[in-house]
């Protein structure tokens, strides 16, 4: 029997997680849109963003800060991880991908898988330091507790349904970012250049658009969104580990494909769908089936609707 309150609660959780997945999915979809690369390192860049946030939190002793100090702390982690992940993603493009622009797509893809391993092992090495604060004698590979520095109260009072400040944080961070990104792509000079490079890089260079710099900027923006996502993910789920990028990355990649890879609204729709599917599966099936279901969605979409829900079926006159 379907309990309406339980269902609603799972919907709230699903939408919150879905917004985080969507933010990561945008990073996949933007990079794919511009150079047709699935940047497999993106999930691991996201993971390193969470590690940086934990490091900042521990090193600055944010847990001891008062409520208003912690608001500042959250903002600091958001900005720090966004700049860090953006810079890291930009560096991957500069060091590993740019010299392969004219090679086959497969070389680029294998290079991205390599970058994923490198980043994941950097995370293992780093361990979400400072270890003396968080390891509790565990190895660097063990999942780390990410302290809940935002209050875990129910904003709806004493009822069964819970909406926490963490839920609120998810939406107040993700929605403005998505709106801002959409406006940026549609209206600004950089956004127009990004669309031009995505549609025809040679023609774009004949307009005087610096193609490599525009691609670099795309990597930075995609990475920065992953950085924002990593901080709200950590504050929302309170556990991080060096392998978290793989699962979050696969959820987000599935979301991007589901929505139609290359499409920004598609990534958001796909993210929300995957988030809700996950929470419903956790509730009504069993947690251990959840990953299987997500993978089945990925496989079914690739077979039956490879352009995704909002993807472009290319119909252009030549």
């Amino acid at each position: 029997m379907l309990d309406f309150e339980v269902f609603t609660q799972q919907l709230i959780t699903g939408l919150s997680n879905g917004m985080i997945i969507a933010l990561i999915a945008i990073g996949y979809t933007m990079v794919y849109g511009i150079i047709e690369l699935i940047n497999f390192a993106h999930g691991d860049v996201f993971m390193l963003g969470a590690f940086l946030a934990l490091t900042l939190l521990g090193a600055l002793g944010m847990e001891a800060w008062g409520p208003s100090g912690q608001v500042f702390g959250v903002a600091l982690m958001l900005i720090g991880s966004a700049v860090f992940c953006g810079g890291l993603n930009w560096s991957l493009d500069r060091l590993a991908y740019r010299s392969l622009r004219k090679s086959s797509k497969l070389s680029l893809l294998v290079s991205a898988i390599g970058c994923s391993f490198v980043c994941m092992n950097l995370g293992l090495f780093w361990g979400g330091a400072p270890m003396e604060v968080f390891s509790n004698g565990n190895s660097a590979a063990a999942p780390k507790h990410f302290p809940a520095i935002i209050p875990q109260i129910n904003l709806l009072g004493d009822g069964f349904l819970r909406i926490t400040p963490a839920d609120l944080l998810v939406f107040t961070v993700t929605i403005p970012l998505m709106v801002g990104l959409t406006i940026m792509v549609k209206r600004t000079r950089l956004g127009r250049a990004m669309r031009a490079v995505a549609q025809d890089p040679t023609a774009a260079s004949l307009m005087g658009i610096p193609v490599d710099r525009v691609i670099g900027a795309t990597f930075f923006i995609g990475g920065a969104l992953g950085g924002f996502a990593s901080v709200i993910y950590s504050l929302y789920n309170n556990t991080i580990g060096f392998q978290m990028g793989t699962r979050a990355g696969l959820d987000a990649f599935t979301a991007a494909v589901l929505g139609g890879i290359g499409s920004l609204p598609g990534a958001v729709l796909g993210g929300l769908t995957i988030g809700c599917v996950r929470s419903m599966s956790d509730q009504y099936l069993e947690t251990r089936w959840t990953n299987t279901i997500v993978f089945c969605i990925l496989v079914l979409i690739l077979i039956f609707r490879p352009n995704g829900l909002l993807g472009k079926t290319r119909k252009e006159k030549v």
């Binding site: 127009r192 669309r195 031009a196 549609q199 004949l206 307009m207 005087g208 252009e316």
Partner: protein, 238 residues
């Protein structure tokens, strides 16, 4: 020597190991229409891409308005007024007509000048004004060619290089496009016209070059090329 607006000297270019241009030399004087004709695969497009510095030439020199532009970035070449309309139009298919035109003005900051030039493009091709909000990928081939030319004009060219503007276009539109080229030239624009349609190109230009397997085989006034029996049999279908 430096009377030439564009002076290409002994240009060599290759893709990987394959040499495509084996020493191309040509020049264009300000105010001229010059045509560059040749068969498919002769290296016409590579010549233009090497002049635009989208393809890096291996050796030789490209001088524009008296200065070497070899090794400059493509955007620096455009800023100097050397602009290309690429083969196959290459409009941005999922942008509107107006967005496409404004991409041509990407490097410009003079809003008033851009507005003025946009008005002139609309005078030349009124269909672009009527279809301003249409998605460019849904235009016909001829309309896309007009859009590609209009977009290049918004880059404020001193010399416009056009790569096969007649390719795959209805004959009635070809004559309209060639009439537009003549009009632009009479208003002071210098044109380097690359064409497979040799008769039409030589009919428009004062001088011409014939490119064969990466090198210039013939050059001279268009009237002489048109009456040369070797060129007639190879390129004019007589």
């Amino acid at each position: 020597m430096s009377d030439f607006l564009l002076d290409v000297r002994n240009l060599h270019s290759s893709y990987g190991q394959i040499e495509v241009l084996g020493g191309v030399s040509l020049h264009v004087t300000e105010g001229e229409i010059v045509s560059l004709i040749g068969a498919n695969g002769a290296g016409k497009s590579t010549t233009l891409m090497s002049i635009s510095q989208v393809v890096q030439p291996r050796s030789g020199d490209v001088r524009f308005a008296g200065e070497s532009i070899l090794g400059l970035r493509p955007d620096e070449v455009i800023r100097r007024g050397l602009v290309q309309v690429p083969e196959g139009r290459r409009v941005f298919p999922r942008m509107t007509v107006l967005e496409n035109l404004m991409m041509g003005a990407y490097l410009r900051n003079d809003t008033a000048g851009v507005e003025h030039d946009l008005g002139k493009v609309y005078e030349l091709f009124s269909v672009l004004k009527e279809r301003g909000s249409q998605i460019a990928g849904t235009l016909s081939g001829g309309e896309q060619q007009m859009l590609a030319i209009g977009r290049a004009l918004l880059s404020k060219p001193r010399l416009l290089m056009m790569d096969e503007p007649s390719m795959g276009i209805a004959p009635i539109l070809v004559s309209r496009i060639f009439a537009a080229i003549r009009q632009l030239n009479s208003e002071g624009l210098t044109v380097l016209l690359v064409e497979q349609n040799a008769r039409a190109a030589l009919g428009l230009s004062a001088r011409g070059y014939v490119l064969e397997t990466g090198a210039i085989q013939f050059e001279g006034p268009s009237s002489e090329l048109l009456s040369d029996p070797r060129i007639q049999s190879a390129y004019l279908g007589d």
